[in-house]
Amino acid sequence: MSVSEVGSLLNQENTFSATLDHYGKVPVEHLDYGYIEKCMDVKYLEKILRVLRSGEEGVYPHLIQFCEDRLKSLDPTSRALRKDQPVATAASLPTEEWSEIREDLQRWQEETKDFEASILPSSIFHGIGNENVPPIRGTNCSVPLGQNAASKAKNKPPKRALPLDYKDWDKFDVDRECEMIDRSESKKDPAAVINSGHVKIRTRVDVTTLTEKEKLLLASREKDKGNEAFRANGYEEAVAYYSRSLSIVPTVAVYNNRAQAEIKLQRWHRALQDCQRVLELEPLNLKALLRRATVFQHQGSLPLAAEDLRAVLRVEPHNAAAAKRLTEVDKKIREGQPELPAKGRKIFIQDIEEDDDVTGKDEEKAEEHARPVDPRQPVGGVDSVVSPVEWGDMGNAQKKPYGGGRGDGASPHGDANNGSHGHHRRGRGGSWDKHKAAAHESPGPGKAANGTGKRGSTASDHGVAKGGTPAGVDLDAPSGALPPPLARLKNEGNLLFKNGQFSDALGKYSQAIASFTESGIDSPEDLCILYSNRAACYLKDGNSQECIQDCSKALELHPFSLKPLLRRATAYDSMERYRKAYADYKTVLQVDNSVQAAHDSVNRITRLLIEQDGPEWREKLPDIPLVPMSAQQHRREEAPTPEVLQARAEKAALDTARRSELRFTALKQEGNEFVKKGQFQDALGKYTECLKLKPEECTVYTNRALCYLKVERFAEAKQDCDAALSLEPTNKKAFYRRALANKGLKDYLASSSDLQEVLQQDPGVQEAEKELEEVTALLCQSLASGATPSPPTAKPRKKVPITEVDGDQDRSTTDSTTRPQDCGAINLQPADSYEFGQSLNAARSRGDAAACANLLSSVDPERLPRLLSNQLDGHVMGFMFEALDEHLLARDPGRVYRLLQYLHTAERFQVVLMLLETAEQRRVTQLFEHLSSVQSDDLTKDDVQNLANKYII
């Protein structure tokens, strides 16, 4: 605000005619409450304050205070307000605060003393462990204090300390020097230098020489650095520091922080991974749950996000942020509901694909779930008499042995406890009848939801109406192993439920569940009941999704509990997911086949399913778990069939299969990301993990093969391709990559046959064509190269480039153009076996027997075996015979004879001869017939016959 503006502003506002002058004196009339109150100019106010404080115009403490307050309201950070304050002392702090600080300090002093003592002993090893310290920078390098740094740096190459004596030259690191030079060159461009530097920060720290305590120290420092970078929005950098910290000592907090940074960078998979790791270590880490929910939300897995948010709310029911986001997510889920059936089906398909070894594990898991049930039986003592009906039906009853036992402790409720248990029993019988009645009343199809709703309500009445006290319910009546406050919450929930206030009851139950998990009580049955009751509320509210979730949780805690099963069945039913509903109803009937509602529903659903799926409807059913004897209440006569047994195991596998499916896709995508970034080693790890989860995924094999190729581990690459091909015998990629792998392994024959396979499948693959050409050439080379044991330096040492997309060889693409060129290129004067092999193969690949004949006529017959080296094979031999027979024999039979004479001394000759195909054998015979029929001075028929004996077996 300029002076004149302020002036005019002030003139409008008040009657002061005096113009403001920041440099002149403050008029006395401005030292006034009224003026100060209206003055908006901070600078001027500061000036007034200065005048007032100086006391030039007299001392007015109140006016000073007033002026300060006014200034503070306009600009709280004004410098004029800064006052020197005396240093605080212990006395100026509240006693408790000071003692807290003091204790903290005391504790720290003791800790450091211990710590100091712990690091001292290692001081004996002075100097040890310094081996990985970088070398001394140099000796007395002088840096001029130039005035123009930028230009100097440009004009003058950075001065490096050159080694002075020979010993130092040994230490001279050429690569590093080159790198330095490259770097300094790249620095010459005048663009701004940005030191964000996260790319250069190593994400691993070498801590091999450090003690545990030092590691902790270092890890926490790296974490601090990460936090700082995070606050400064340097997320990449933060990730780097967190990774460093984790590489020293992994901690939950740092994983959590890194997850957050990854979220900021929108790298969902990595974030997910970090959250996952936190949750593995600390299953109820709220931050990790919230962050995972964010990730899921962004990845579109809304139900999973909702589940995580709900988990948060269970632990911390008043977490406003989680609640808000949950409503958002739920809304989105509801908006996206039309997609649901399709989604459901997809999952269903995936379920079918699950593999056997996962099932094995899950069977175990299922047993684990079931196990807690069994040991309870004997504990029951008196209660074991209680009929299984009550057992499965009324969760409350299950706790009796515990409740009674624990209640006897110091609790003043001890007596009341027992009393209420009595009520329980009495009440239960009655309500069970009611339940049955309700079930019987349950009408036919279509109204099932209604009916079960009623049933739910009557069933959950138990908790409240137990003792038959309708209005003045004892809310503090203890229930099960629940501590009084929880029991109260539950009873309140029951009461509300009974009164039809379902959503309020829902809140109570949620609270109870949350505080239950917080308090860490080890009583799965109570939790089961709470979930079951809440499920009833959800069912009443028509929220079938939630209901199913709660029921599932309840069932996890206490398998084959009747009520949650029934409720879940109803919920599935109302969502028209009949197959699942059917399975649940069937399970209910296994537990207690007297539940009429279940019978009715099963009949109804059977009809519906037959309509929907035809006569094979049973095959599409999910697996119905087998209910163990202990959980069966009104057992049916017939024993469970083995199919049911198996079915149950598979059912239990569903969950983990789905989880592993999730993990599989995550891993695969991570792997692909790594590949995109060129981090093939990391990608390898991911793919390998993928394959552990799903060993029959073809694409993962081919992807991993690619990574192996990139890191030049050809043998493994080949194995992967083989695996992929065994799964999918026509996979082009696999063939192509196997070709590359074979090329890398120098098995050019196999390589070329793979490439031919690719081209057969899809002739348009240009890379394959190029590769094929290259490989053929290499094949020729290698065939030839073995012929003479040439000195190692002369050996062709061509590095095999692996080109995936576009090769850099500028070979022409059309064969027609290359032919004439190649024809002229055939070397008729081969100097060594390599060149000979090349020429021979060039001729053979074009079927040019004449060229071969020329070649053979130009070489010294005595050298032939040496030139052929060990590269002789059936095709080469056949081709040579053809050339000799058709072209050379007519011209120079003597040479043919001499060639043949030496040919049979070539390496591998005998073997190749034995393996000749009939056509080629015929050609040999033909050749010798022709040869013997030729009249010549220098060869007799006997000679030819002798030679022929060596060739014709």
């Binding site: 020197d84 240093v87 690091i119 290692s122 930028a150 490096r160 330095m180 030191n195 700082e228 400064a232």
Partner: protein, 358 residues
Amino acid sequence: MSTPFEKPQIISHIQKSLNYTIFDCKWIPCSAKFVCLGNLARGTGVMQIYEVHQGELQLIREIEKAKPFKCGSFGATSLQQRHMATGDFDGNLHIWDLEAALEPLYSVKAHKEIINSLDGVGGLGVGDGAPEIVTGSRDGTVKVWDPRQKDTPVANMEPGEGEAKRDCWTVAFGHAFNEQDRCVCAGYDNGDIKLFDLRNMAVRWETNIKNGVCCVEFDRKDIPMNKLVATSLEGTFHVFDMRTQHPTKGFASVAEKGHKSTIWQVRHLPQNRDVFMTAGGAGNLHLWKYDYPAQRSKDDLEGGAMGVAGTVNLLQNVTLSTQPIASLDWSPDKQGLCVCSAFDQSVRVLIVTKLNRV
């Protein structure tokens, strides 16, 4: 801004009068002990080790040497060894084993005149790379030393022939985030600040803040250089954002006039690089927090990048003494604990509260 109750408080915990002029004090890493360096009245140097114990200072050891000590650092030693490097009035650089300080472990006549300032890096797990000590002297040179190399520095930054020699008042290491990269920043009496790149052995950047530079410090030594604070003779200090270096404009900075007198020292909180304390010539301490701008760099007109400076906020200020506070050191292990020495021949242990909430 935080409410008064939420503001960090600076509490004077222990105060101790000494019988010598104290120039520097440093916490011994991983301990509740610190070292005081100074000048006895009879002209000799003294080194005292105190331990904070139950609200008292206990003198653990006192060592007297021929020349007065000016400055010291633990920056280039390992956690196990904890050897202290000192610079004295005569230009000698020594490294001492504090347990057996009869003879120095390393000794070199580093400069012709007093060593005003030294700094170490590469030890204590701070910064990758070789352990190195940088010394700045009145003779106008700045030298980098490696304790493994006797007698000669690894790098020497001196004015050329015929150039005026300026008194170097302060040196600091930074940018030591990998084995090769490392920078030294030096401040001179004429207001020059120079940034030496040890990797390229060249001056990377220089500027002048018009008044003598009393102290420079990077917010952290072992990260790609992020911020640099330089304090000056007449009471202003500058915070440079070192992330984006514009080819002509250099680094963006913000200046703040906090004290009415010379700012002798600036020290960043080891646990939070954005909080720092300045110590003034009028015996006062100011605690500041740097707030980053929304975008740390922007495009200049030519399309290049240039840095944007943030803002500095005063968190707390107190007056401790009537004499300048010449040195200040945060405990690397205990957040909020610091020691400072003033020319009133006393050393004070301070506690700063609520630092985790700023």
